[in-house]
Symmetry: C2
Subunit: 136 residues, 2 copies
């Protein structure tokens, strides 16, 4: 798995490309001179965590024969006071549409976040992972 | 810092939006039924790691009064055999243009990856982080 970054504009706007040719824009925070276009690097981590959690959740619900017709995820990150301002907590709020048993959903979210989500399992084990959900 | 994911297409194509309204597409691997459009979640982590490393490297080189006129980064991730297929190694290859002292560049890359890069410092400490560089 490979990602290529090339600078589009000074000082910090980058074109980011994957091996299929998909592109996105990434930039620094305006506090340090970025223009605010595109995604900040730490936002991309939250984006990856949310996508991965959503995909795994849908797969687990399907295995549980739960009929989730749609899902939205809101991912929020809190950062610490280290020089890197690393994440110290990430919370996921899942909104689920469909005929879904609440107990099974709770179990599916735990399995997704604690076992199957590649991104969450690649994060520092000290980061607090929290989740809430709503069935519509 | 907040990221919102909404499903665009079944089963796994998500619209990902940050608080400034920037959007990107994320999808599952084709192996599990994704269409291959957009970025896979784990690619977004590499994208974030590369952007953050590049930005911090440029900031450190500037403080060192090194004249880097451009930078590209290639980020490669290797995954383990756990159920989550988490990262076990991430390598960065930096291509730097400009008048840059090689010793200072090596030191700047170490500082960026080991101290300042928010994304790398948010990753599991067991992930092996490697780097190479080329000055053009």
């Amino acid at each position: 798995m490979e990602i290529k970054l090339t600078r589009l504009e000074e000082p910090f706007l980058f074109n980011v490309e994957n091996s299929n040719g998909a592109v996105l824009l990434s930039n620094a925070n305006q506090d340090i001179g970025g223009s605010g276009k595109g995604f900040r690097p730490m936002e991309l981590v939250l984006a990856g965590a949310g996508g991965c959690a959503a995909i795994d959740l849908l797969l687990i619900l399907k295995k549980q024969r739960q009929n989730a017709s749609d899902v939205q995820v809101l991912v929020t990150g809190k950062r610490d006071d280290s020089p890197a301002k690393a994440f110290n907590a990430i919370s996921f709020h899942f909104s689920i549409q469909g005929e879904v048993d609440e107990n099974k959903l709770g179990r599916a979210i735990s399995l997704a976040l604690e076992k199957y989500c590649s991104v969450v399992q690649s994060l520092d084990k000290n980061i607090i992972i929290e989740s809430t959900y709503k069935i519509n």
